[in-house]
C-alpha cells in the first residue's frame, strides 16, 4: 500500500462522509456546512489528478461562493429548522431506483480502463489552462462571461421586490 493510495482513501472518506452527513443531518445550516467538507474532499481529489488550478477554483467557488450564497438563501427564507420527512414509500421507490442505477453504472465502470495516462498535466498547469482558454476556447470563454452577466442581472431582477409590477397586476 503506497502513500498515494492512503491519501486517496482519506480524501474519498472525507468526500463521502460529507455527502452522507448532508443527507442525514436535520438542520439546514448543518447540511450546508457538511457539504463544505465534500467540496474540500473533491478539491483534494483534483490535486491528486494533477489539476491544481481546478482544485483551487473548486475551493473558491464551491466552498466559498456557493456555500455563502446558500447560507444567505437560508437566512432570507424562513425555516422551521427541522427538515420535514418525506413519505416512506416515495423514499423507498426513489432509493430502489437509485440503487438499481448505481449497480448498473457500477458494473459498467468498475473495470473500466482506457489505456494511457497523461503525464504532463502538472507542469505549469495554470499556464496550460490559460493558453487553452485564450486560444482554442476563447469564444466559449466569452460566452460564459455573458452567461454570468445574464445570471447576475437575472438574479438581481428576480430577487428584487417588485412594487410596480404588483400594481400593474392589480389594474
Amino acid at each position: 500500500m503506497n502513500g498515494e493510495l492512503i491519501v486517496f482513501v482519506i480524501l474519498f472518506l472525507i468526500t463521502i462522509t460529507g455527502a452522507l452527513l448532508m443527507l442525514n443531518l436535520s438542520k439546514v445550516v448543518h447540511m450546508v456546512m457538511a457539504l463544505v467538507l465534500t467540496f474540500l474532499g473533491i478539491a483534494g481529489l483534483y490535486v491528486m489528478l494533477a489539476a491544481e488550478f481546478v482544485a483551487v477554483v473548486q475551493i473558491l467557488i464551491y466552498s466559498g461562493a456557493i456555500t455563502i450564497i446558500m447560507l444567505f438563501g437560508i437566512m432570507l427564507t424562513k425555516h422551521t429548522g427541522e427538515e420535514k420527512k418525506t413519505g416512506f414509500v416515495k423514499k423507498g421507490i426513489v432509493l430502489s431506483g437509485i440503487t438499481a442505477f448505481f449497480l448498473i453504472m457500477f458494473f459498467a465502470v468498475k473495470d473500466l480502463s482506457l489505456g494511457g495516462q497523461a503525464t504532463t498535466l502538472h507542469e505549469n498547469n495554470t499556464e496550460q489552462i490559460g493558453i487553452m482558454l485564450f486560444t482554442e476556447y476563447v469564444i466559449p470563454f466569452e460566452l460564459v462571461s455573458v452567461v454570468l452577466l445574464v445570471a447576475l442581472v437575472g438574479a438581481v431582477i428576480l430577487a428584487k421586490k417588485e412594487e410596480t409590477k404588483k400594481e400593474g397586476e392589480q389594474s
Partner: protein, 620 residues
C-alpha cells in the same frame, strides 16, 4: 324479327316521355301511352306471324363479363314467348285505352300512364328473355310496377299497406327464384335456359339438385302468381285502380308465375317430386281460393280470388304435364279475366260502390256492361263453346290422364265452385231491381270498346285448340326450341260432358239462390256459421301471418335493438370508461411537483438502462 327489340322499347319510350314531360303533357299522356302500346301490339302481331313463318329467333349479346363469368342479354322468340307477347301487348293496349276513360278525373292521370308504360316494358321484356338472370331482372321490375300501381292512391292507408304487402310477399318468392339461379349457375356454369336444359338432360345435375332448384323456382312462381301460401297479397292488391287489376293482377303479371314454370318446364319434368309439388299446390290453391270467393262481398276481391283459383288451375295443369293445357288456359284466362275486371271497373266507375250487396239491379241501367260481364262469366264458368270451356276441358283431361284422381276431383270441384260464385256475383250485381235511384250512366265508349274486343276474344279464343277443329295451339307450341315434354292427351268424352254439367249446375244453383231466390241466400251462414266465418276470414291466413311473421319480426328486431343498445353500446361505454380512467390516472401523476416529475423521468432512464443491461447492451 330483327326489330323485335322495339316491342319493349316502345312502352319504355312512352314511360320516359311521360315522365319527363309530365306537367306539360298531362291529359295527352293517355293518348301517348295508348299509341305506343298500340304500336307495341302491332309489333307483337308481326312477330307472331313471322314466327309462324320463320320459326324461332334468338339474339344475344354480352352484358357483363368478369373473368370466367359471362352474363348475356338477349331476346328470344319462341311460341310461348310470342304468344305471351301478344297477350301482354294486347291487354296492355286495351287497358291503356280503357284507362283514358276510367282515370279521366284523377289528378295523377299522366303518372298513371307512365307507370303503365313502365309495366308494359318490363312485362314484354320479361317474356322475351332467353336467360334466367334477365327473367329475374324483369321479374322484379314488374313486381315494382305492380307495387307502384297498387299504391297509386298513396294517400289511402289501405293502399299503402297493400302495396307494401304486395312487394314484400312477392319478394319472398323472388328470393326462392334467386337462390335457384345461384345454384343453377354453379351446377351448370350458365344462366342460359338452353344451357341449363342441356346440362339437365346430360345428367350434370343430380336428381336432388334438380328437385331443389325446380322447387325453388316454383317458390318464385308461387309468390308472383299468388298461389297458396303466398297468396295473401293479391286480394289486397285490389286497392289499386281497376284497370291495373285487369292488366297486372289478372291477365299478365300474375300469370308470369305460370309462364315461369312453363319456361322451366324441362327442368320440372325431370323431377317427379317437383311436378307433384306444383300439381298439389295448384290444386289446393284452386279449391282454397274458390271457397273463399264464395262468401266475399267486394266485387274486386271476388275476382281476385277467382284469379288465384284459376292460376292454381294452370299450375295443376303444369304439374300434371299439361303444358299445352296450362298455356291455353293462360291465354283464355287473360282475355276473360281482363274482361271481367274491366267490366267490374265499369260498374265501379258508374256506381262508385264495390260491395255487391249494396249493388244490384244494375242490369237495366248498364246494359252493355251487364252483357259483357255475362260473357266473361260464362267464359270463366266454362259454359260450353265459350273459351274457358275448351281450356278447362284440356286441364281436366290432363289431370285425368295423369292418373291422379284426387287432383282431378279437386279440379272438378273448382269448376263447379267457379261457376257458382261467378254467377252469384253476376246475379247480385245485375239482376233484380235497383232500390236507390241515383244517376247511373253507362261508361264512355273508350271504356266499352276495349271490353268488346276482349268479349269477342273471350268467346272465340277457345277455338284455337279444340279436338274438333284442330289443335292449332298445341301443334304450334311444339315448335319450341326446348325439350319440353308434350304428353299426348286422349281424354274420354265424358269428361267434357261432366264439366259442362258441373258448369251449368253451378250457374243454375246461383240462379236459384240469387236471382229467383227460391233457395235462401244465407243457408250457409244459417246452417254452418263456423264454416262461413272461416271462409269469410279467408281461413285466417292473414291473421296467422300477422301473428307469426310480422309480430315475430318485431319481436326479433326489438330484441336485437335492445341488445345493440345495452350490450354493444354498453361494451363501447365500458371501453370509453377505461380510456377515461386511464386519463384520470394520468392526471394524478401530473401533481405539479417537480420532484415527482423528475423521479418519473429518472425511473424511465433506469428502466431503459436495465433493458440495455439485460440485453447485453453496449457494455459487453
Amino acid at each position: 324479327m330483327d326489330y323485335v327489340w322495339l316491342i319493349p322499347v316502345l312502352p319504355l319510350l312512352s314511360f320516359l316521355i311521360i315522365l319527363f314531360t309530365r306537367p306539360v303533357i298531362y291529359k295527352k299522356a293517355g293518348i301517348v301511352g295508348t299509341l305506343f302500346s298500340g304500336a307495341a301490339f302491332v309489333g307483337a302481331l308481326i312477330v307472331l306471324f313471322s314466327h309462324l313463318e320463320n320459326g324461332n329467333f334468338l339474339v344475344e349479346g354480352n352484358w357483363l363479363s368478369i373473368h370466367a363469368l359471362t352474363l348475356t342479354v338477349g331476346l328470344e322468340v319462341n311460341p310461348l314467348n310470342a304468344l305471351m307477347l301478344v297477350i301482354v301487348t294486347l291487354v296492355s293496349f286495351l287497358v291503356h285505352m280503357y284507362s283514358m276513360g276510367y282515370m279521366a278525373d284523377d289528378e295523377r292521370f299522366a303518372t298513371f300512364f307512365g307507370y303503365l308504360g313502365l309495366f308494359t316494358f318490363s312485362m314484354t321484356a320479361l317474356v322475351l328473355s332467353p336467360n334466367l338472370l334477365q327473367i329475374y331482372f324483369f321479374w322484379e321490375l314488374v313486381g315494382v310496377c305492380s307495387f307502384l300501381l297498387v299504391g297509386f292512391y298513396f294517400y289511402k292507408p289501405e293502399a299503402k299497406a297493400a302495396a307494401k304487402k304486395a312487394f314484400i310477399v312477392t319478394r319472398i318468392g323472388d328470393v326462392g327464384l334467386l337462390v335457384a339461379i345461384f345454384l343453377l349457375y354453379w351446377q351448370t356454369g350458365t344462366l342460359e335456359l338452353d344451357g341449363i336444359f342441356s346440362a339437365a338432360e346430360a345428367g350434370e345435375l343430380t336428381p336432388a339438385m334438380i328437385t331443389l332448384t325446380a322447387i325453388l323456382i316454383f317458390v318464385g312462381a308461387v309468390g308472383k302468381s299468388g298461389q297458396f301460401p303466398l297468396h295473401t297479397w293479391l286480394p289486397d292488391a285490389m286497392e289499386g285502380p281497376t284497370p291495373v287489376s285487369a292488366l297486372i293482377h289478372a291477365a299478365t303479371m300474375v300469370a308470369a308465375g305460370v309462364y315461369l314454370v312453363a319456361v322451366m318446364f324441362p327442368l320440372f319434368t325431370a323431377s317427379d317430386v317437383a311436378m307433384m309439388t306444383v300439381a298439389i299446390t295448384g290444386g289446393v290453391t284452386a279449391v282454397f281460393a274458390a271457397t273463399i270467393a264464395l262468401v266475399q262481398n267486394d266485387i274486386k276481391r271476388i275476382l281476385a280470388y277467382s284469379t288465384i283459383s284459376q292460376l292454381g288451375y294452370m299450375m295443376l295443369a303444369l304439374g300434371t304435364a299439361g303444358y299445352t293445357a296450362a298455356v291455353f288456359h293462360l291465354t283464355t284466362h287473360a282475355f276473360f279475366k281482363a274482361l271481367l275486371f274491366l267490366a267490374a271497373g265499369s260498374v265501379i266507375h258508374a256506381a262508385h260502390e264495390q260491395n255487391i250487396h249494396k249493388l244490384g239491379g244494375l242490369g237495366k241501367k248498364l246494359k252493355g256492361t251487364a252483357l259483357l260481364f255475362l260473357i266473361g262469366s260464362l267464359a270463366i264458368a266454362g259454359f260450353p263453346l265459350f273459351s274457358g270451356f275448351f281450356s278447362k276441358d284440356e286441364i281436366l283431361a290432363s289431370a285425368f290422364s295423369n292418373g291422379s284422381y284426387i287432383l282431378f276431383g279437386l279440379a272438378l270441384l273448382t269448376a263447379f265452385l267457379t261457376a257458382f260464385y261467378m254467377f252469384r256475383l253476376y246475379f247480385l250485381v245485375f239482376s233484380g231491381e235497383r232500390e236507390r235511384n241515383e244517376e247511373i250512366k253507362e261508361s264512355p265508349r273508350t271504356m266499352l270498346i276495349p271490353m268488346m274486343v276482349l268479349a269477342v276474344l273471350a268467346v272465340f279464343s277457345g277455338f284455337i285448340h279444340t279436338h274438333w277443329f284442330g289443335t292449332f295451339l298445341g301443334d304450334w307450341l311444339e315448335t319450341t326450341p326446348y325439350p319440353v315434354l308434350f304428353s299426348s292427351i286422349d281424354a274420354p268424352y265424358w269428361i267434357m260432358i261432366l264439366a259442362s254439367a258441373l258448369s251449368i249446375g253451378g250457374i243454375a244453383l246461383a240462379w236459384f239462390m240469387y236471382a229467383k231466390q227460391s233457395i235462401p241466400r244465407n243457408w250457409l251462414y244459417g246452417s254452418m256459421k263456423e264454416v262461413h266465418h272461416v271462409l269469410y276470414r279467408k281461413y285466417y291466413v292473414d291473421e296467422l301471418y300477422r301473428t307469426v311473421f310480422v309480430k315475430g319480426l318485431y319481436a326479433l328486431s326489438y330484441f336485437w335493438s335492445y341488445f345493440d343498445r345495452f350490450i354493444v353500446e354498453g361494451g363501447a361505454t365500458a371501453v370509453k370508461g377505461l380510456v377515461s380512467q386511464l386519463g384520470k390516472t394520468g392526471v394524478k401523476v401530473q401533481s405539479g411537483q417537480v420532484q415527482t416529475y423528475s423521479a418519473v423521468a429518472f425511473s424511465g432512464l433506469v428502466l431503459v438502462l436495465l433493458v440495455i443491461a439485460a440485453l447485453g447492451g453496449y457494455f459487453q
